[in-house]
Amino acid sequence: MKKILSATLFAFVALFTAPASAEELVTSLSADMVSIQSNFTGTKIVIFGQVGRDVHTIGRPGKYDLAITVEGQKHDITTRRKARLAGVWVNRYYETFTHVPTFYAVATTRPVAELANRNTLDELQLGLNHINLAVTGRSHVPLSDRDDFRRAFLRLRQEQGLYIEQERSIEFLTDTMFRTTVGLPANIPVGNYTVRSFLFQDGSLISKTQAPLRVAKSGFEQITYDMANRQPLLYGVIAVAIAMLTGWFAGVIFRKD
């Protein structure tokens, strides 16, 4: 079923691809909306596409390299470090990274470092080591310690499953067709995501695409969340009413006398 679906979608993609100049990259997602319901335990999205080559393009030697990123919305995220204060371990130092993605996954055909030179990777923010981790001006952390915070940040995000680097996970089905699967964990933050694809050849970027992906709660989860935020008073009153009813009900059911 899945295969038929991808094949159909693929045909659709191929059909509407108007050849432009040189190599053209076309990508499509298995779904452009991930909805979180009460049974949500994470999901996967399949990204597939084709490197289109029009007839006028002279076939260049060398293999193509691809990188695909899935990025969440950008937020300010604070990393804290504990230190001993009066014998007790407390959060003492912190560094706030501004405008960093809440979720970041990258899939590539080969190790990120081999795709292109450092400057290009930094510019494209491609690979975990190339995400721009800018700090706020009011940081009190000495310069020499900042890299420790950056490393800790990346490590913690990876441990939480929110930053993922999967090298060599893009597979070529034919010379020009490729596919990869990116797992979205259960604790994935909601928001608008961007899926970016990059086509490299011999270390230089020759084409790129971008597609939106939405991660949102739906149904009961959405209603509850909206209510908690938009009508907090009513939400609180309902919570209390449910609690009182449950307690009273239990008291009545288990009544001994």
């Binding site: 609180g236 919570a239 449910i242 288990f254």
Partner: protein, 309 residues
């Protein structure tokens, strides 16, 4: 069975949460306590964000105390006037508590304040209860049947102005210590996610000299109202009450409580108090270890604004 929590924004195993609610409910029925001080750390340990754990436990405490109030009400063992007066104080206290909660959360020091307070309060009260229950057990063994010598009236409390008569409790005392007590426990309750029953009961007996037969019912009534208010304050102030988590906990909790209450009737009072003292001390100790030992990971992450993570 995994269920996604809409406010905590992560999936949990429903049966694990149900089991936690049931186990804590059992203990709360056994000892006549709300059990918040056990449930909050358990939830944090299970991976629920501390802010959500604290706020949601206040809702769970509403359910467990409501079921207790129903049975004490039926036996007419509640001093409503005293309960409402304590609640009036509690309202102010829990409002302030929620404000402090928000400030600490934004400073990133919420966890350490919660841990420190647990160590101090559980340590103190656990030790006091341990000493008291061991004495009671020794007396019992020596066959001493004379009534426990009650402490002298705290004179200064009786000299305070604004005295009010509480008929059910046969008291004529100033409203100041009553309001103050309600406020302190409401404050701690909303900051720490506990009902404070284990502090309220001894305070009513030893400070206000309320007769023991109305103490538990009155304390439960005050906890019920204070925690209901705390739930609403948390909903409005921090939006961290997770109703799905709360319902799962309270269903487990009220069932466990009934079994606990039945078992409690078969145990001797001083033995029960000894067990509770050990439990309280163990939880306090657990927090102390966390604060004093070097953490395995010095770093942690917190998002500044918005939902998620």
């Amino acid at each position: 069975m995994q269920i996604y929590l809409p406010i905590a924004e992560l999936p949990v195993n429903m049966f694990v949460i149900f089991g936690m609610g049931g186990a804590v409910g059992f203990l709360s029925g056994l000892f006549g306590i709300g059990g918040g001080f056990l449930l909050t750390p358990l939830l944090i340990f299970a991976g629920i964000p501390p802010a959500v754990s604290v706020a949601t436990v206040t809702t769970q405490v509403v359910a467990s105390s409501a079921s207790g109030v129903v049975s004490y009400w039926r036996r007419k063992m509640i001093d409503f006037k005293l309960g409402m007066m304590l609640f009036a104080g509690g309202l102010v206290g829990s409002g302030l508590g929620v404000l402090l909660f928000g400030v600490l959360q934004s400073l990133g020091q919420l966890d350490v304040v919660i841990s420190l307070s647990y160590v101090v309060f559980l340590g103190t009260i656990g030790s006091l209860m341990l000493v008291e229950s061991l004495r009671a057990i020794r007396r019992h063994r020596e066959g001493d049947v004379t009534a426990v010598k009650r402490p002298e009236h705290s004179r200064w409390i009786y000299r305070l102005p604004f005295r009010v008569r509480f008929h059910q409790s046969k008291l004529y005392i100033s409203v100041i210590p009553v309001l103050g007590l309600g406020a302190s426990i409401g404050f701690l309750g909303s900051v720490l996610g506990i009902g404070g029953g284990f502090m309220m009961v001894p305070a009513l007996i030893y400070i206000l000299r309320v007769p023991t037969n109305v103490v538990i019912g009155t304390s439960l009534l005050q906890i019920l109202f204070t925690m209901a208010a705390a739930t609403i304050f948390h909903s409005v102030g921090t939006q961290t009450v997770d109703i799905v988590l709360a319902i799962t906990l309270m269903i487990g909790g009220v069932i466990g409580a009934q079994f606990g209450a039945r078992m409690g009737q078969q145990l001797r009072g001083d033995h029960l108090r000894l067990l509770l003292a050990l439990l309280v001390l163990a939880v306090g100790l657990r927090f102390a270890v966390d604060l004093l030992w070097m953490p395995s990971d010095l770093y942690s992450i917190a998002i500044k604004k918005g939902g998620g993570v």
